[in-house]
């Protein structure tokens, strides 16, 4: 069967996407760690028995609750400095006063990444650390099956009321006696989400029929997402929160009295927000949240206020369980926060710590076979023993200072044991499904090898090669491999103790995957065999002349290899944008050198060269004329080309061409200062922040208007009249959309009071996007059906491209519009002044496009952390959250840079008439190759580094990005192939 390079590359990428998906599924297993809940009701442990027989402690029950009512106020994205910093002092006076002088304990709770709401709620309520995959299932949260605080409270007969984010209602269905969930998906709603919570407050606070009240306020998070932590909207929101806290606190105080235990008010945040206002990553601003316990049970603070201690977010579940007299959740890895129970007697404190330690050591027993050697477990056993001794002394009636001091010693031992236990447990949370990961890796690697082996053939002039299907498919080897793999599968799956995704798939699917693997392997083997066969007689062409490698080739190769190698270091992943900026800068310099050589040096050499050429031609002509064969036509065209390039080099174009790399470098420098990303230097002030701050709205509006005009000028030159008009109207629509949602202002509009969701405007733009894309597709179809000239097709492609540009202009934030402008500008300059005169081949141009695409991915403010994904793009023009379009729009907005460059590559390659028809196939193949190399290497690296300290904060998000990028690249390659198909068909006609 003959296959073209493009077809081959796209099918390879599709298979690779399958492999990556399998790997991801194995790498991020769904957390199914807990035993069934019925088993969770175990008897609580008794106090450790004092040594010696006879005396046994009689305290076997769980201690009684310390607090009567508990109000948990969760403020989404409440960062620690919003309470403890200058903002807190300014906007939250009541809370600050309580923190500094009142009866309260304040801490900084450290959240584990991913700092996204649902995993954080799970962590707060179960005390366990949810897996990274929770981000992906974040959007449709299923009920929480693990043992958790809410369930324990409900089982103990507590009445719980909840108001706020409806994630809770989904996580804990039927747990609340009364609830009102508000949806969190409409990000630009700042007030209604919170009013929906507060409107119940007065009524509930008057009532007595509840034990736990949970309030989840979303407004602050929304403000952060849309305008950032330094916006003027944050202050009033914090003040509103302060008033609510004051109201609750006063009402709780008024209810106290009598013999009943006091009430407790807990204020916390689920995660912080970064300097850009988003969250998900692991920077300090995102993980540090305040945690306040306010109750009259505590002693009044006196003395100067010191910086709060740092605790883990998971500690809240344990502490609340103890405070409410509930059993500690089975999977919790949290430690009891001791100051909260500091007012109790020494015996009670030790009892609480013992309960916590016992639960943690049991969790350790269930998860590690060699638990007895764990230092935490050893510490705990020692502490338990001395606790027993202490109890013996206590029961003997010894009540002196000695007892107290001894008790303090035991307390310290317990705390140390708890700390070690929970840290060794936190390490174990990551459980990998190695078998699925291996299968995925094998598929990806096989695809990569196949691509690499086939490269010389695929990049040959015809871009076609023979794929012998039948010999490998009917060989004995194939069947043997199939059988072996199936046997291995059966053995692995029967011996593994559950928890394997690939095993849980149906047998037919698994068998199909095995067949695929063995087929790929046979393909590789036959390719290797062919290469060996061919390489036996090649004495006549000794290693295709090394001198043909130009500097640009070497740079491209070295850059690709260097980038792939850099993926092994976590800092290079965090700062991957620097790698790309560095590479494209170097590329520009190399291009500049190439241009200089082309313009200055070849001029002298060229004249000689062309003279000799002409002489040659003349000679040829003469000889042919002797033979009376008319060959003037091809001759003239060849000569014409030579003179055309000569002509091109003259005049002002020459200087523009020489200057273009420098202009591109300047553009890149400007873009770099637009968005600071990464981790180390992300906090540096950048132009984007300056623009988005509310004082500079008019500057932003001006910039957006200029950018939109520039986009129109740059895009319209190749469009038909209809799409020109549509484009102009669409860009106007983009401006009015941004003005409607209040990002920018019209010049005649002075007060930006009326902020709407801008649905009409956005849909207006969508209509034009669809219209332009439709026109383009129509042209493409026309060129295919009636096989018109090449011009129609390239116009069609350009129209599709401009439709995508319009969509990107709508979805990107207004301060990112210059990115789009510079993208178009650089593409235009590159095409006109660099690629055309220098006559690079398709492979080089493809890789340059890929590099620029990657750089633009980071120019638009993305990074390798989850936090920079702009979720708000998914809500443009949508009334409520609709899953499919939201995901599509978000993915498009995130990958706008690489996508636009890839489509531009397609436009460029198809518009070059002079290129031979295989250019498109070469481009597609190179694009697939250059994408699958980093993915394959990265997968292996991640497998090797899976116990690395930064695996969850650095490597995993990058893995998700890579997986997504493979999927998108597969889509692009399919589009390439479809276009290529047209062309070849036309060629055959």
């Amino acid at each position: 069967m003959r296959l073209r390079s493009g077809v081959f590359a796209s099918s390879c990428l599709l298979v690779e996407a399958l492999g990556v998906a399998l790997f991801l599924r194995g790498f991020f297993p769904l957390p199914v760690r807990s035993l069934p809940r019925s088993e969770a009701r175990r008897e609580p442990p008794a106090e450790p028995a004092p040594p010696g027989s006879g005396t046994v402690s009689n305290w076997t029950k769980i201690p009684p609750p310390l607090f009567k009512k508990v109000v948990l106020v969760l403020i989404d994205a409440l960062r620690d400095d919003f309470v403890f910093g200058p903002k807190g002092k300014q906007f939250m006076p009541y809370t600050t006063q309580v923190v500094e002088k009142g009866t309260s304990h304040s801490f900084i709770a450290e959240a584990k990444p991913p700092t996204v709401t649902m995993p954080r709620i799970k962590a707060l309520m179960t005390g366990s650390i949810p897996g990274f995959i929770d981000i992906i299932v974040n959007l449709n949260s299923p009920a929480l099956l693990e043992d958790n605080l809410i369930w324990q409270a409900k089982t103990a007969g507590k009445r719980i009321i909840f108001y706020g984010d409806d994630t809770w209602v989904k996580l804990f269905p039927k747990h609340f006696v009364e609830y009102d969930g508000t949806t969190s998906f409409f990000v630009s709603d700042f007030t209604e989400v919170d009013d929906n919570v507060t409107r119940h407050l007065d009524r509930v606070l008057k009532r007595e029929d509840w034990d736990i009240l949970i309030l989840h306020y979303l407004g602050l998070d929304h403000i952060g997402h849309v305008t950032g932590p330094n916006s003027i909207l944050v202050g009033p929101k914090l003040r509103e929160m302060d008033n609510i806290l004051k109201k609750i606190h006063i009402s709780l105080l008024s209810k106290e009295g009598g013999a009943a235990p006091p009430n407790l008010l807990v204020v916390c945040g689920d995660h912080g927000m970064s300097e850009t206002g988003s969250h998900g990553g692991s920077s300090e601003e995102e993980v540090h949240t305040p945690l306040l316990f306010i109750s009259s049970a505590f002693e009044k603070r006196n003395g100067p206020f010191s910086q709060p201690k740092v605790v883990q977010q998971t500690d809240l579940a344990t502490t609340l369980a103890v405070g409410l007299g509930l059993p500690i959740s089975k999977n919790s890895v949290g430690n009891l926060i001791l100051p909260i129970v500091g007012g109790k007697t020494m015996r009670e404190q030790l009892r609480f710590l013992h309960l916590n330690g016992f639960q943690l050591s049991r969790l350790l027993q269930e998860n590690t076979p060699a638990y007895e050697k764990d230092p935490g477990y050893e510490h705990f056993k020692i502490a338990e023993k001395s606790h027993g001794n202490w109890i013996k002394l206590y029961l003997d009636g010894n009540n002196s200072e000695v007892l107290l001091n001894l008790g303090k010693k035991v307390l310290k031992q317990y705390l140390k044991a708890l700390k070690t236990l929970s840290s060794s447990l936190s390490k174990q949370v990551a459980q990998y499904d190695m078998y699925s990961m291996m299968v995925g890796t094998v598929i990806v690697l096989e695809v990569l090898f196949l691509l690499l082996l086939i490269t010389p053939k695929a990049l040959s002039r015809r871009a076609e090669f023979e794929v012998p299907l039948s010999p490998p498919l009917f060989s004995l080897l194939f069947y043997l491999t199939c059988l072996t793999l199936c046997a291995v599968h059966v053995i692995v799956c029967t011996s593994a103790e559950g928890l394997c995704y690939f095993c849980s798939m149906s047998w037919w699917t698994a068998a199909a995957v095995m067949v695929l693997i063995s087929a790929l392997m046979c393909g590789i083997l036959s390719a290797v065999g062919k290469i060996l066969q061919n390489s036996r007689p090649p004495v006549k062409n000794p290693v295709v002349s090394n001198s043909s490698w130009s500097e640009v080739d070497i740079l491209i190769l070295a850059g690709t290899v260097g980038h792939v190698l850099s993926l092994g270091a976590s800092s290079f992943i965090e700062e991957e944008h620097q790698t790309w900026y560095f590479l494209i800068n170097t590329l520009c310099l190399a291009l500049c050198q190439e241009l200089c050589r082309n313009h200055f040096l070849l001029k002298e050499g060229d004249s000689q060269h062309s003279i000799t050429l002409k002489q040659n031609f003349d000679n040829v002509k003469e000889t042919y004329e002797c033979k009376n064969i008319d060959i003037t036509a091809p001759d003239d065209s060849k000569l014409g080309k030579v003179t055309a390039t000569d002509e091109f080099l003259k005049g002002s174009d020459k200087w523009i061409s020489l200057a273009s790399p420098w202009i591109i470098l300047i553009c890149c420098r400007l873009l770099r200062s637009l968005n600071q990303t990464g981790v180390q230097w992300a906090h540096r002030p950048d132009f984007g922040h300056w623009l988005t701050s509310s004082e500079h709205k008019s500057e932003l509006s001006f910039l957006a208007a200029i950018s939109l005009v520039m986009i129109f000028i740059l895009v319209q030159r190749k469009c038909s009249l209809v799409s020109k008009i549509a484009m102009a109207l669409g860009l106007l629509g983009v401006y009015s959309y941004r003005a409607a949602i209040g990002n920018i202002v019209f010049p005649w509009q002075h007060d930006s009071k009326d902020i709407s969701k801008g649905i009409t405007e956005a849909r207006f733009v969508y209509v034009f996007v669809l219209g332009i894309v439709f026109t383009g597709t129509k042209d493409l179809l026309k060129s295919q059906v009636i096989s018109a000239d090449c011009g129609v097709r390239s116009t069609g492609l350009w129209e599709v491209y401009s439709g995508l540009v319009l969509l990107a202009a709508l979805l990107l934030r207004p301060h990112n519009l210059p990115v789009l402008v510079f993208c178009l500008l650089i593409q235009t300059m590159m095409t006109k002044y660099i690629w055309r005169p220098l006559k690079f081949d398709a492979a080089q141009i493809t890789i340059m496009h890929y590099w620029f695409g990657q750089a633009f991915f980071y120019f638009q403010g993305n990074s390798n952390g989850i936090a920079t994904v702009d979720v708000s793009a998914g809500f443009v023009g949508l009334d409520s959250y609709v899953e499919i379009p939201a995901i599509f729009l978000t993915a498009f907005a995130t990958y706008a840079g690489p996508l636009l460059w890839a489509i531009h590559l397609l436009c460029y390659l198809s518009s070059e008439v002079s290129r031979n028809s295989s250019a498109m196939g070469h481009g597609c193949f190179c694009y697939a190759l250059v994408r699958s190399v980093p993915v394959a290497v990265y997968i292996i690296l991640v497998t090797g580094l899976r116990y690395h300290l930064f695996i969850w904060s650095v490597f995993s998000p990058k893995l998700l990005y890579e997986g997504m990028h493979v999927l998108i690249t597969a889509g692009v390659c399919l589009f390439f192939t479809a276009m290529d198909q047209n062309r070849s068909r036309r060629g055959q006609d």
Partner: protein
Amino acid sequence: MSEAGVRRLCAANLLRGCSVLLAATAPRFFLDGFSVLGTPLTWLCACSVSVSALSVVLNAALGPSPPPRRGSLAHKVGFLKCCMYFLMSFGRAFLSLNTFLFAVLLSTFTTLQCLCVLGPNIQAWIRVFSKNGAMSIWDNNLQITTVCSVLGAWFGAFPIPLDWDRPWQVWPISCSLGATFGYLAGLIIAPLWIHWNRKQLTYKSR
């Protein structure tokens, strides 16, 4: 190409290398607390000054080509041109002192050497920095040291994003160190390379 020429080149390169090393060590005797990593800016100044001074002196003393006999006016114009080129090669470095000093250092290693050898003659520059354009061992030496310095500076940028928190990782120290090491390496490589290829090197004059 004569043996004597090669020997002169070796001597010149040795002197240049010594000046770089001297710039890294000598200021310790005059300045308290001087070290390359501790006070990088001082080192950058010292290094650039010593290397450029030496280059000018060397050029005057054992100039590879006899000084052009021109009128004093042409001489002055040429000198001004040289200064202009040298300043131009600093590029956009006026934004911060760090970057400026790094630019000075790199220009000393590259542009200044070229100016000394080739003078303000664009065509000669383009000729030297193209394939097979060298017309003497001095040109070859120039090619190799310049390329090595630039490559050294390029490679010097690699460790900047790593989170090792080392003092030499800070911009522009690692790049300056890279450029310096590259330059030193170039000074060593150039005579060796010329020696190695002395059979193939046949310079045709235009």
